[in-house]
């Protein structure tokens, strides 16, 4: 019996009136876990019942503890008829299973009903007593920590990054016909909520098992999604990055422990890792032998020996590679070849060269897969930002899409209430080639081979998504091909790592990641390479596209900005295979066009790199929507982008007035943007390479504790010195118009395209926007934070729309949304919208839905303006100095320093009662005699008038029991002195101005809301508005109950909205996730959570202590 779950129902408040006659409610509570149910007594005639129940005890397996939620149902007792349900609360008890997370769940939870929304609140206490189970073959994985955060969580240190973990579970949707009969009984919604909750728990447990097998103790960048496949079922899938994390135990730790210095880290890992119990090495060896070079991938001849992916010729100027196909193999593999129109297609010779590269790369790939021994099958990482030194080189974006038909799938796992697919997909795929596992494997293989083509052994910033319309499903995966430092992997590979020349290059951290990972002679695609503008030692591409966040050590000129490419394509309505074929034929063209748009917009802003690139393609009945979002920046290491040149069909057209006006407009825009984003690239750099190298050498010699042996270092330096001599001319040339991007105007469509290019309005002054964690170029955040979710649905009324018309509508929709945000948040100026996450969908024939979650953060304007001003001056030598300091000091606090350079890590140890819960969150009323706003006000009032003291005592004497009409009002105020903890939410991994001192566990919640009185609830907007507000409220309540005061890495992963206004009905499903944390203000290192809570909470009613 590995665990005992205890729950206590304390009280309720604000309950709805269930008995019209008395205007009161006779409430009682059912507490259910697994198949065991307990009940409280009925608390008669009260809207604020005080049950104060005994402890209900459930003795359960830890496996169930992980899978099942605690289900609390509030009912109204009815003597003569069936008891009416008021609502439910599902409490995920997973955070209690981790010793490091929360120890008790206690607080007010909104009572939620899928038809009526929130109906009052209930105060619940939950505890878990866990007995250690050392059974090796156990099915549970208690103790594995999960983080949504896509970086190493602050207050932890990554001792080891093990690699990719994935799992999916399939089930039948309890309500697979919900679209047809939109009117769903409450029971069906609840069954669905419960099922998804169960499946999420199961999924998490299985992933946890895999992590334990790998020898890790945590999953970082955990991304769980569900696919509503309608009749063919419900898929819940998750990916993440397995890690071994060490907790930084005290304030002194950041100075030593976080320091993931390449040389010392692996050695210290071995002894620091808490997971190193007796049997751990056994696991390690197993893995070493099983996941070595002969991986299934190696054994697949098709992928390794296939010719270079078809994507490359079509992407002449980018580092992006992608491809798409269907299970029907209908996509022409060479479909993207037409992209050669830009005119930089290489001849057969090139192809030959490429093939050679391929083999060379394969060899290299083999050696690197040897390095990344522990990353298993797929060297994928869901992380988007990394400890310093982790990321060596970045190749570019790799993506893969595939179109599948859902009705062709039979799923052997279906039929059971829960599928038990153990182990990983490897063992299963052979028998079940048609399962979703196989689909994803296919896509991952493709991603892996794309990465190889770019000379990379790993994919970072990896994510997967789906878009489903009826029976067609587009599976997408994307990431950034890159080379990682093997020192962060398992210790066994350290030697090999040093042997590989690529890992010992002393690339400065501020530009090293830009250096090309592939062979410059045999590039996987045509690109213009130049010597790095920063260190001048290695080649860099002219543009860089990535899905990750901007590395904190990267040197950037000016500010970044959000860049979006938007695209709508009409599609004929079709069924089955015809439909799938049509879609898969369109995909490459859409990707190409999105890419072109991105590239043009990037140039228009005079920037040369994209971070956080996310391309979403959504499928609808009669159209496809494509939305690519990224944050553009000017990387100092990369060459300045050339302008955009407009050309007519023939050279003679250039004299055309029309064209010259357009050209002028474009040039003006570029100039304006340069000013707006403060892009003043340093020019002095190219002046005297001799001097520069001299400085560089000196500095390098002074480098203390450099991992590189001195002699080799020196020779390397000399090489770069000699190389630099012929660079000068090349650099100078690239400033000219030579590499200007040429846009050809050959028809009206092209003109439209150019116009739409210029439509994107820059954010109003005082605003910046980006879709990455933080805005490149801004690092003086102040504490103002406003997270928001916005949803818009647009109805296309005109059936005869053209592609152009649709594009315009879609672009306007997105632009107007942004404009609305700027307007709404204008009081926060100067401020930056960070992590702007757009999700598009085509819920119905003529509807386009855009949902956005982002956070607005204020910053200190004065300091940011100083920065770019001094940067160009200090280039050359100054910057190098900066880097050195960086590597010595800032590296010391690795993840903490990330994007929070000014943060001071003081050596004050956490007070021991941090782990004990915040007192003010307690249910008891006694706790809140603190002088909060309301109480102060009241006290002041008392002193004003006579008899005040007596008044108080009379109020206290008055019983909370509603025994008469005259007391009814008082009784509504008698729910004990409680406080509502302020819970901040952010999609970022940190809150500016605060320090996260504890992670309390993952929040992963799924809600359904339905109404049959749409008009009465304020129409669709009113309905969704209150639902989103309710979801926020429930997330906040759960976090507060865990003792937390913030949610980081929050995201709304699903928002499915359906309406039927004729029937006055609507239904919405929302899935949200994030990490519950306790954070304290940076300025007061001593602050304990309880202090923060009481300071932030507002007590409402404290004088009726009951």
């Amino acid at each position: 019996m590995p665990g005992k779950l205890k729950a206590k129902i304390v009280a309720g408040r604000h309950l709805p009136v269930m008995d019209r006659a008395s205007d009161l409610t006779d409430a009682f509570v059912e507490v259910k876990f697994g198949n065991t149910t307990f009940k409280t007594d009925v608390f008669p005639k009260s809207l604020n019942p005080q049950w104060n129940s005994e402890w209900f005890k459930f003795e359960v397996d830890d496996e169930d503890l992980q899978d099942e939620p605690l289900q609390v149902t509030v009912l109204d007792h009815d003597t003569y008829s069936a008891n009416d349900a008021i609502g439910k609360v599902y409490i995920d008890i997973d955070p209690l299973l981790c010793t490091e997370a929360a120890s008790v769940i206690s607080g007010w939870f909104p009572i939620y009903d899928t038809i009526h929304g929130i109906r009052g609140e209930i105060n619940v206490l939950v505890k878990v007593e866990l007995f250690n189970d050392l059974n090796r073959f156990r099915q549970s994985s208690c103790g594995v920590k999960f983080f949504c955060t896509t970086s190493i969580p602050r207050c932890y240190r990554a001792a080891m990054v093990h690699g990719f973990v994935e799992e999916l579970v399939v089930n039948e949707d309890p309500e697979y016909q919900w679209i047809d009969r939109i009117r769903t009984p409450r029971a069906s919604n609840e069954a669905r909520q419960r099922l998804i909750s169960l499946m999420s728990g199961e999924l998490q447990r299985k992933i946890g098992l895999k992590v334990l097998e790998m020898g890790g103790n945590a999953v970082v960048g955990y991304l769980q999604c569900f696919d509503l496949e309608g009749e063919s079922g419900l898929v819940v899938r998750a990916i993440g990055t397995a890690c071994t994390l060490d907790k930084l135990s005290s304030g002194s730790a950041p100075n030593t422990n976080t320091h993931t210095h390449p040389n010392t880290a692996p050695a210290s890992n071995a002894c620091n890792s808490p997971s190193k119990d007796g049997k751990e090495p056994v696991f390690g060896e197993d893995l070493l032998s099983s996941s070595g070079p002969p991986t299934p991938f190696r054994a697949l001849p098709t992928s390794s020996s296939s010719p270079p992916p078809p994507f490359s010729p079509s992407k002449p100027c980018s580092r992006q590679s992608s491809s798409s196909d269907t299970d029907l193999s209908l996509t022409p593999k060479t479909g993207m070849g037409s992209g050669g129109s830009v005119g930089k297609e290489a001849g057969p010779l090139k192809t030959l060269l490429r093939q050679q590269t391929q083999t060379a790369l394969e060899q290299r790939g083999a050696s690197s897969s040897g390095l990344l021994i522990n990353t298993g099958e797929f060297p994928f990482f869901t992380l988007t930002s990394f400890p310093p030194g982790f990321l060596v080189h970045v190749g570019g974006v790799v993506s893969a899409r595939s179109v599948k038909l859902l009705d062709r799938i039979h799923n052997p796992a279906l039929g059971n209430t829960r599928s038990y697919k153990l182990l990983d997909w490897n063992s299963v795929t052979a028998d079940e080639p048609e399962t979703r596992d196989a689909w994803w494997e296919e896509i991952r293989q493709e991603i892996k081979s794309h990465a190889k083509a770019l000379g990379c052994h790993a994919v970072v910033g990896y994510s997967e998504s789906t878009s489903i319309c009826e029976e067609v499903c587009i599976l997408s995966a994307s990431g950034t091909a890159s080379i990682l430092n093997p020192r962060f992997m398992r210790e066994g590979c350290l030697d090999i790592g040093i042997a590989d020349h690529r890992f010992e290059e002393p690339s400065p951290p501020s530009c090293g990641f830009c250096h090309i990972p592939y062979d410059e002679l045999n590039m996987p695609f045509p690109a213009q390479l130049t010597y790095c503008y920063h260190c001048r030692r290695q080649k860099v591409p002219d543009v860089l596209f990535t899905t990750i966040d901007l590395p904190s050590e990267a040197s950037v000129t000016g500010k970044g900005c959000l860049i979006q490419a938007r695209l709508c394509r009409l599609k004929k309505k079709a069924q089955g295979e015809v439909n799938a074929t049509a879609i898969s034929n369109m995909l490459p063209f859409m990707e190409y066009e999105l890419h072109t748009q991105l590239m043009n917009k990037l140039k228009l802003r005079s920037m040369n790199a994209l971070f956080g690139l996310h391309i979403q393609i959504s499928v609808g009945e009669n159209m496809l929507l494509g939305l690519a979002s990224a944050t553009g920046v000017y990387l100092t290491a990369l060459p300045a982008p050339g302008g955009i040149q407009i050309a007519g069909k023939t050279p003679g057209d250039l004299s055309n007035d029309h064209i010259s006006t357009i050209q002028k407009r474009i040039n003006d825009t570029i100039a304006k943007n340069k000013e707006l984003y403060q892009i003043n690239p340093p020019k002095l750099f190219a002046l005297d390479p001799e001097v520069f190298c001299g400085i560089n050498m000196e500095l390098n010699e002074e480098l203390v504790g450099s991992p590189i042996p001195e002699p080799r270092h020196r020779s390397r330096l000399f090489r770069s010195h000699s190389e630099s001599s012929d660079e000068v001319s090349e650099l100078d040339l690239s400033h000219g118009k030579k590499d200007a991007f040429v846009l050809e105007i050959d028809d009206t469509d092209a003109v439209e395209d150019i116009h739409s290019l210029l439509i994107d309005a820059p954010p109003p002054s005082g605003f910046y926007s980006c879709n990455t964690e933080v805005m490149p170029g801004i690092n003086t955040w102040t504490s103002g934070v406003q997270m928001f979710t916005s949803v818009r649905v647009f109805r296309l009324s005109n059936a005869n729309l053209t592609n152009q018309g649709l594009n315009k509508i879609f672009t306007d929709l997105c632009e107007n949304l942004l404009k609305s945000f700027y307007f709404k948040l204008r009081s926060m100026i100067p401020c930056c919208l960070c992590h702007l996450n757009f999700t598009v969908a085509v819920p119905e024939d003529e509807l386009i839905q855009v949902a956005v979650t982002a956070v607005a953060m204020t910053f200190d304007k004065d300091q940011t303006q100083e920065k770019p001003a001094e940067k160009p001056i200090t280039k050359g030598s100054g910057d190098t100095e900066e880097q050195l300091q960086f590597s010595m000091e800032l590296c010391a606090d690795s993840s903490l320093a990330n994007s929070q350079p000014p943060s001071k890590i003081s050596g004050v140890p956490e007070s021991s009662n941090i782990s004990s819960r915040a007192a003010s969150v307690d249910y008891g009323s006694f706790a809140d005699r603190c002088s909060t706003w309301l109480e102060l006000l009241r006290l002041k009032a008392h002193t004003i008038r006579r008899g005040s003291v007596k008044t108080i005592s009379s109020l206290e004497r008055s019983s909370p029991l509603p025994d008469g009409r005259s007391r009814s009002l008082r009784s509504t105020r008698s729910f004990g002195g409680t406080s509502v903890t302020v819970v901040k939410m952010t999609p970022l991994s940190f809150l500016p101005g605060t320090r996260i001192i504890k992670y309390l566990g993952i929040i992963n919640m799924f809600f359904i809301r339905e109404t049959t009185s749409l008009r009465e609830e304020g129409g669709v907007s009113g309905f969704l508005h209150s639902f989103i507000a309710e979801v926020f409220a429930m997330v906040r309540a759960h976090v507060a109950a865990l003792g937390g005061n913030a949610v980081v890495s929050y995201s709304m992963k699903e928002c499915v909205f359906m309406e039927n206004p004729n029937k006055n009905q609507a239904q919405c499903l929302i899935n949200v996730s994030g990490d519950a944390v306790i954070c304290v203000r940076e300025s007061d290192p001593e602050a304990t959570p309880s202090m923060t809570n009481s300071a932030q909470s507002c007590s409402s009613e404290t004088d009726t202590a009951t």
Binding site: W108, F788, S797, L934, I944, S1021, A1029, R1036, S1100
Partner: protein, 357 residues
């Protein structure tokens, strides 16, 4: 082609105070957008009319969702649906319960019943306060009235505790409740020159000195009902005008004190008996509910108007009433000093407040 659904929800509820005001004032969304456009908010952030409309709709929706909570403000502090800073909560409540002086002047002293509610459109037309806003204000009055009417303890304190209002607003509501309960006549033409604040001040005086609560703090309705015993005792004051000797004695005392101190001395001397009769008669009649209702109109007719026609200055008035009150203490046959003080204290301050143009 239209935006079918458009919502924006912040973790901390975003509320624009300007829009809140427009909402409270009963503007429709479209009118509010017009007002905002004229206010120049568009230039602030390069917004378009669409953006403004979308924002206004969002805000209106938020306010509507909050309105339920504002009806019992204590709930606002411990509800979980909206995360609103305590300061913002206080602002929301304060503004929601704020009222237009023009409107309150119309309903002051009227029964807060359905009948009055039906007349709201007339009041709306007369005061140019929108009907929607009138309804909100009226419902606020009624809600506060209903809640405090059966509570023990001091009126202002009860209102402030239950509705979390500021001291000032709490007192105003106390006045409204007090007036509604006693049905004081305030609508007569002669009273039109008085503002709500004049009445609110008088109400405060009456509540503090003439109600049951002034002597006993723990009685139900203590601040709403006038002290019946006191009203009975007021009849005794009649002796001041019925006893001729006393009246003359009183007059000579007052005149001696006033002589040479004011230009209006002659008028004061001439009118003394009339004025004194007026004030004492008001006191003597207060046992009748009907006369309580006419309290203010009587004060104006019997005292303020005669003085005004004689062009007393405010200082004259102050001087006269002070000596008039104090001189009664020196009358050795006058035994009702306590009642006299309790009565004249209020009358004095009320008249001071009411004596203006």
């Amino acid at each position: 082609m239209a935006v079918e659904l458009d919502v924006f929800v912040g973790n901390t509820t975003i509320m624009d105070e300007e829009v809140y005001k427009l909402w409270l004032d009963g503007y429709t969304v479209n009118d509010a957008v017009k007002v905002r456009m004229e206010g120049g908010v568009m230039e602030e952030c390069e917004a378009s009319a669409d953006v403004l409309l979308s924002d206004t709709m969002d805000q209106y929706r938020t306010f509507q969702m909050c309105e339920r909570l504002l009806h019992s403000p204590a709930k606002l502090a411990n509800q979980l649906l909206f995360q609103i800073t305590p300061h913002r909560q206080a602002v929301l409540i304060e503004r929601y319960y704020a009222f237009d002086d023009a409107f309150v002047r119309e309903v002051l002293g009227k029964k807060l019943s359905k009948g009055t509610k039906k007349d709201l459109d007339d009041i709306s037309a007369k005061t140019s306060v929108t009907l929607k806003s009138c309804r909100r204000q009226f419902d606020n009055f009624k809600r506060v009235f209903k809640v405090v009417e059966e509570l023990k303890g001091p009126l202002v304190e009860n209102i402030r505790q239950h509705f979390l209002l500021s001291d000032k607003l709490g007192r105003d509501y106390a006045a409204i409740v007090f007036f509604a309960n006693n049905r004081f006549e305030t609508g007569k033409r002669k009273l039109q020159y008085l503002t709500f604040q004049d009445f609110a001040f008088c109400a405060g005086q009456l509540i503090n000195n003439w109600t049951v609560g002034a002597v006993d703090h723990m009685v139900e309705d203590m601040d709403v009902d006038l002290d019946k015993e006191f009203l009975q005792e007021l009849k005794e004051l009649k002796i001041l005008i019925t006893d001729k000797d006393l009246l003359d004695q009183h007059k000579s005392l007052v005149c001696t004190a006033l002589r040479g101190k004011t230009k209006a001395f002659n008028e004061m001397e001439a009118n003394f008996k009339n004025l004194s009769r007026g004030l004492v008669n008001i006191a003597a009649k207060l046992t009748n509910t009907k006369d309580v209702r006419d309290f203010f109109i009587d004060l104006v007719e019997k005292f303020i108007e005669p003085c005004r026609s004689d062009r007393w200055t405010a200082a004259d008035m102050r001087l006269y009433l002070t000596h008039y009150t104090n001189s009664a203490h020196i009358l050795d046959t006058f035994k009702h000093q306590v009642v006299w003080d309790r009565y004249m204290g209020v009358i004095k301050s009320c008249i001071f407040k009411m004596y203006h143009d």
